[in-house]
Amino acid sequence: MFESEFMRLALAAGAIVGVLAPAVGFFLVQRRQSLVGDGIGHVAFAGVAAGILLDVSPILTALVAAVLGGVAIELLRSRGGAAGDQALAIVFYTGIALGVVLVAEAGALNVDLFQYLFGSILTITRSDLVLIAVLGAVGVAMIVLLYRAFAAVIIDEEGARVAGLPIGALNVALAALAAVTIALSMRVVGILLVAALMVLPVSAAGRVAWSMRSTLVLSTGIGLACAIAGLTVSYYADLPPGGTIVLTAAGVYLVALGMSAVRGR
């Protein structure tokens, strides 16, 4: 499969997404915001539709929409008086409704759109990969630099507030990071499944890890392995890549669940 250019591009993109999605998802899961990725994904769908309608790169418009959606969820949650899941629901449904209207307006209910919804290894170009690599590097750098602060907020939010940490700014940074991850992951796993890659490897790692840091590292390892294995299987078995990657991650979760049950945790 390495002879085909599209597959090399897909594997490279898959590897980046496989590492970044669980790394960002780790912080969302620990903050009990596992579904935020899904909400942002639906706003990204509106962004894709806008890109098709305006004839500009759907990845860029999805990126802008996702960042706006992620920040909106956070601001509604923290300042708008809407409880966590309500803020998510408001943005989630507005995003998908906007997407449906824009798609109809663009007359784009076709294969192009499906590539974004379900992912497509065939459509990743060199310039897509460059964009994914640059955004991926920015994401990883943000996580490395802000890991201690994010961890401090997860461990003891009130304590972090008393210590004077800028909780609001850190939450907005995390929402923006999640949005960037979703925008760059959608070509590989698709908008409908991107959130799964942010949650399943983390849940699996949490079953077998021995510390917070090891949970994060194992999550990224599992994400990377699932992305590569899922893409390989999808290539040989002619299956949709997003679904195959996520089913692989679900399988790993079941194995981890079994391992933790055997160890009596």
């Binding site: 201690r148 401090a152 997860i154 461990i155 003891d156 304590g159 210590a163 510390s211």
Partner: protein, 241 residues
């Protein structure tokens, strides 16, 4: 003695017309070990939240090391132990990771841990007697040990002010006694200003220099031996007419 906390004419209500606190005046000097007590619903937790800057007084002034408490810059580190401190998230967080979170400061948000941080974290764990379980996940430890981990987290910040909210809730009598001794040691050796908020004095009554009783306003402020007998049970505290 310079002041760690100054509350002047502080009143507070969570909604208009409500008076949880009324005309509270309190000065806490640096290096004092003070118990703030009172009945449940008497406003002591609100008072603590105001002095930490987590709430803004409806009227009056709250200063923390000379700065408005709600806009405190974090120049002098604060340690805070919440009631029933439990670690957030589902990941198996170790004692060392919890304590290391105490080293994340407003001016050092970005970046990695320094060797100094590592040493201060190890010292704090040692001081609370958890060195043997430093790398164990917190959730595998007893309630008393988990509480000690959070105290170590507060200590790792090298706090100028340590505030504990109902630290005896859900902790057995033996752990309460050893907590009181630990706080007395910290106060004696490091000179940390300690505010111990509780509905009961418990074991700390013998260690604190000063007791403040709160029931909407401050009804007693003085040394433990000056406390009228019936007020040793703060449930009996009544507002002076």
């Amino acid at each position: 003695m310079s002041l760690a906390v100054l509350l002047a004419g502080v009143s507070f209500g969570y909604r208009p017309g409500q008076r949880v606190l009324e005309d509270v005046n309190l000065r806490l000097g640096e290096g004092e070990f003070v118990a703030v007590a009172g009945p449940n619903g008497g406003g002591k937790t609100t008072l603590m939240r105001i002095l930490l800057g987590l709430e803004r007084p409806t009227a009056g002034t709250a200063l923390l090391f000379g700065e408005p408490a709600h806009r405190y810059s974090g120049g002098r580190p604060l340690g805070y132990l919440a009631q029933r401190s439990v670690v957030g998230g589902d990941a198996p967080t170790t004692v060392r990771e919890v304590v290391a979170a105490g080293r994340v400061m407003p001016r050092r948000i970005v970046g990695r841990r320094t060797p100094d941080d590592g040493q201060l974290v190890a010292d704090a764990i040692e001081r609370v007697g958890l060195a043997a379980v430093a790398d164990a996940p917190l959730r595998t430890l007893s309630g008393g040990m988990q509480q000690r981990a959070f105290i170590a987290k507060a200590l790792a910040a090298r706090p100028a002010l340590l505030v504990l909210d109902e630290p005896t809730t859900g902790v057995d009598a033996e752990s309460q006694e050893s907590l009181a001794e630990l706080l007395a040691d910290l106060h004696g050796e490091l000179g940390v200003t300690i505010v111990y908020v509780s509905h009961e004095f418990g074991a700390v009554e013998h260690h604190v220099q000063r007791i403040v009783l709160v029931r909407r306003t401050i009804v007693f402020d003085g040394a433990p031996h000056d406390l009228p007998g019936m007020w040793h049970d703060p449930g009996h505290v009544h507002v002076r007419e």
